[in-house]
Amino acid sequence: MKVQQIVVRGIIYLFLIAVAVTCLIPFYSMIITSTHTNTDIAQKLLLVPGDQLGENYKRLMASVNIWRGLANSVFVAVIATALDLYTASLVGYGFSKYNFRFKNGLFMVVLATMMVPGQLGIIGFYKLMDTFHMLDTYWPMILNGLSSAFGVFLIKQFADDSVPNELLESGRIDGYGELQIFHRIMLPLLSPALATYAIFCFIGKWNDFLTPMIVLFDNNKQTLPVMIASLRSQFTADFGAQYVGIVISVVPILVFFSAMSKRIISGVAAGAVKG
C-alpha cells in the first residue's frame, strides 16, 4: 500500500511538471532563439543562448519602434482602466445602495449586455468614430469600455455584501452630499473589489487588438499588439528580429506576473466565483 501510494504520487508530480514545462518551454525557446543569427535559426536546434541579441534588436528597431508601442499600450490601458473603474463603481454603487423604480429590470438589462458578442457592432462603431472625428485618436479605446457589465456586477456584489448602509447614513447625518458620500466613504471601502476588477480590466485593455487595428492609422500611435502583428509582414525572412519583438512583448509581463502572481490569481479566483 505504501509503495503504491509513492508510485501514484510520483506519477502525479511527473504529470504536473510535464504540464508546467509545456507552459514555459515556448517562452524559453523564444528567448534563446532571439539571441542567434538567422542562419543558425534556420539550421540548428537551439538550446543555449547565443550572442546575437544586440544585432537582431538593432535590425528590429531600425523599422519598428517597439518601445513606443509599449509606451502607447501602457498609456491607453492605464487611462482606460482608471475611467472604467470609476464608472463601474458609480453604477455598481447606484444599484447597490439606492432604491428606485425598475431597479431590478434595469439591472437585468445590464447583465443582458454581457450576452451580446463584442464584434456585432464593430462596423457601425468604425463609422460612428469617423463621424465623431475620433479616428486615429485614442478616444475609441478609452470610451469603449465605459459600459462594462462585469465590472458593475462585481462592484454591486461587493457593495451589497461588505459595505454597511449605516456608514452611508452616518455620512448623510454629517451633512455630506450624495457625491461626497460616494467619493469619501464608498470609494475607499470598495478598494478590494476595485483591485480585483482592475486586474481583469487592465489585461483586457492591454490585449485589445481589433479596435486599435481598425481605428489607428499612424504607425507611431499603434499599440503593442498591433506592432507585434505587423512583425510577420515586415520581417518576412528576418526571424531573429521577429523573435526579439516577441521577447520584448513577453518579458515585461513575465516580470510583472512573477511579482504579482499571488494577487492576480486570487483576484481572478474571486472574480470567477462572483461571476
Binding site: 502525479i12 504536473l16 515556448p26 457592432g121 468604425y126 479566483a269
Partner: protein, 291 residues
C-alpha cells in the same frame, strides 16, 4: 420620507453613466451596423440602400459556411481537451499532499495573461516548417526524417490554432474550477471521510457533482467566446484553402481589408445569429443534463 425620494432620484443619476455609455458606444453601433447591412457602402462614398441584397449574398456564400465549420472545429478541438485538463489538474491541486500548489497554479495560469496576438506569432514561428523549433526538435529526436509543412495541411492548421487556444485558456479554467471546489463546504468532505470514502469516491461522488454548476457555466460562456476566435488564428494565417479562417477573421477581412463594410455588417449579423443559436443549444443541452 423625504430622504427616500431624494435617494431614488440619485440612484438614476449614479447608474446613468452605464446606460449613456452603452447606448452611444454599444447600441448605436449595433443598430448602425444593421442599417449599413441593408446598404452598399465602401467607406468613401455615401451608403446606398439595397434592401436584403447583402443577406441574399450571405445565404449563398460558401466562404461564410466554410468559416462556420472551421470555427466550430477549432472550438471543439480546443474546448474538450481544455476542460478535461483543467478539471483533472484542479482535482490534483485540490489534494492536500501536493506541495508547491501556488507555483503550479501560477505557471499554468501564465499563458492566459499573454496577449493572444503574441501567442499567435509565437506559435506561427515555432511551427514554421523551415526555421521552427518544433520540426528541429522532432528531427533531432528521430521521429521524422523531413520537416513537416504544418500550415500546408488543413487539419494541422486547425489543430495548431486549437492548441494555442487550449494552451492559453486551460489555466484560467483551472483557477475557476479550484475556486469552485473551495467554495464547497468542508463539512461535506469531513462527513465523507468519517464514512470512510476513498479519494476516488470523494472526487466522483462529491466534488464533481457539486462542481457541475461551475462547469456548465464555463461551458456556456465558452461558446460565446470560442465562436469569436480571432486574434491568435489571424496570426497563424488562413491555412490552405482557407481551412483555418474563422468567422470573425472573415468579417475583418471583408470589412477592413476589402472595404466592403456593408457586406461585413451582414456577416456580423450572420455570426450573431449563429452564436445565439449555439448558445441556445448548449443551454438546452446542459439543462437536460441537469434533470
Amino acid at each position: 420620507m423625504k430622504t427616500k425620494v431624494n435617494k431614488s432620484a440619485y440612484g438614476y443619476l449614479f447608474i446613468s453613466p452605464f446606460f449613456i455609455a452603452y447606448t452611444v458606444m454599444g447600441l448605436v453601433p449595433i443598430l448602425y451596423t444593421l442599417y449599413l447591412s441593408f446598404t452598399k457602402w465602401d467607406g468613401f462614398t455615401d451608403p446606398v440602400f439595397v434592401g436584403l441584397a447583402n443577406y441574399e449574398r450571405l445565404l449563398h456564400d460558401t466562404f461564410f459556411y466554410q468559416t462556420i465549420g472551421n470555427t466550430l472545429i477549432i472550438w471543439i478541438f480546443s474546448i474538450v481537451p481544455q476542460l478535461i485538463l483543467a478539471l483533472l489538474l484542479a482535482l490534483i491541486l485540490n489534494e492536500k499532499f501536493i506541495r508547491g500548489k501556488h507555483f503550479f497554479r501560477a505557471v499554468f495560469y501564465f499563458p492566459h495573461i499573454i496577449t493572444p496576438i503574441t501567442l499567435g506569432v509565437m506559435f506561427a514561428l515555432m511551427f514554421d516548417w523551415q526555421t521552427g523549433t518544433i520540426n528541429k526538435l522532432l528531427m533531432n529526436a528521430g521521429l521524422i526524417q523531413d520537416p513537416v509543412h504544418w500550415f500546408n495541411s488543413p487539419w494541422w492548421s486547425r489543430i495548431i490554432a486549437a492548441s494555442v487556444i487550449c494552451w492559453q485558456y486551460f489555466g484560467f479554467n483551472l483557477i475557476v474550477f479550484i475556486a469552485g471546489m473551495q467554495s464547497i463546504p468542508t463539512e461535506v468532505f469531513e462527513a465523507a471521510q468519517v464514512d470512510g470514502a476513498t479519494k476516488k469516491q470523494v472526487a466522483l461522488r462529491i466534488t464533481l457533482p457539486l462542481l457541475r454548476p461551475v462547469f456548465l457555466f464555463t461551458l456556456i460562456t465558452s461558446v460565446i467566446g470560442g465562436l469569436q476566435l480571432f486574434d491568435a488564428p489571424l496570426m497563424l494565417g488562413d491555412g490552405p484553402g482557407n481551412s483555418g479562417r474563422t468567422m470573425i477573421m472573415y468579417l475583418y477581412e471583408t470589412a477592413f481589408k476589402a472595404f466592403d463594410y456593408s457586406y461585413g455588417g451582414a456577416i456580423a449579423y450572420g455570426i450573431f445569429v449563429i452564436i445565439m443559436f449555439f448558445t441556445a443549444i448548449t443551454t438546452r443541452a446542459t439543462r437536460m443534463l441537469k434533470e
